[in-house]
Symmetry: C2
Subunit: 162 residues, 2 copies
């Protein structure tokens, strides 16, 4: 077998796992973990956002959103209100109890990000961010394509082997 060079995917994996661990450690005093901080920030920045849109923004499964938001509600950081026009939709709101936590979340996130980019010049960082954004976007499209292909194969099997 030939020689296979490493790819940047390994570093993405390490960065993501360590970022989660970091948030788990520093947010522990507030009863939340890495799994809630993103959603808390998004609800704060988009008052009244729906669960569906929350999932779309972060390319999350809708089940993930339901569970994260349930936890935030139990802790009293988020209020869930049904949309009056379309009662399928649930709209999310930050409570006053969440203000403290939000400050901490942003503060710790910025500390972490600044540690990582300490020695990167601003224009390089900007470039990096744009490349990552583009790749993240492609990954969502690509994944949908692969999933769709798989689904079609499953359907075909179901039709030919009933």
């Amino acid at each position: 077998m030939k020689h296979y060079p490493a790819t940047f995917l390994k570093y993405i994996s390490i960065l993501q796992r360590n970022t989660s661990r970091y948030f788990d450690m520093v947010l522990e005093p507030f009863g939340i973990g890495s799994g809630q901080q993103f959603f808390l920030r998004q609800i704060y920045e988009n008052e009244g956002i729906s669960m569906y849109d929350l999932a779309k923004i972060g390319c999350f499964d809708k089940g993930t959103v339901t569970k994260a938001v349930q936890k935030l509600e139990e802790l009293g950081y988020v209020k869930i209100l049904a949309d009056e026009k379309d009662r399928r939709i649930k709209r999310l709101h930050i409570t006053s109890a969440a203000q403290q936590v939000l400050e901490k979340v942003y503060q710790k996130r910025d500390l972490w990000k600044n540690s990582l980019t300490e020695n990167i010049p601003p224009e390089k960082e900007k470039e990096l961010e744009q490349l990552l954004e583009k790749m993240a976007q492609i990954s969502c499209q690509e994944l949908s394509a692969v999933a769709k292909q798989r689904e079609e194969i499953h359907d075909k099997r179901r039709n030919t082997q009933p």
Copy 2:
């Protein structure tokens, strides 16, 4: 509260989650998922590597390594042999049954990586990879520092409140 701009951390999160989902889909026929592909490749590229070194290479918890390797052994893709000089150490070896899977793992990994970087010029990609490598390295150091600090606080509490 002031306005808080987004960071690249969000894109890292999306990229990592979608990469895992992709590997889960394409490796399903071989009985393995995203959680084993990295370890399978590393054992192939470092015949006889120990679990400890495997953890260090990918900045994984040692418990993660134990479980991933156990699964690979159950599937017959990896052999675990105790080191003769130091019997704490377990050395890992690829079996012939794993050759097929390894081909597929590398092939699918490269397809995925190429989709993501399609429109990035090679020198930009090289630069991106170096930045990510550096940041991943910092994240490991930084995390150790935060963990150590936390431990000291816990120890202090234990000593003053017995």
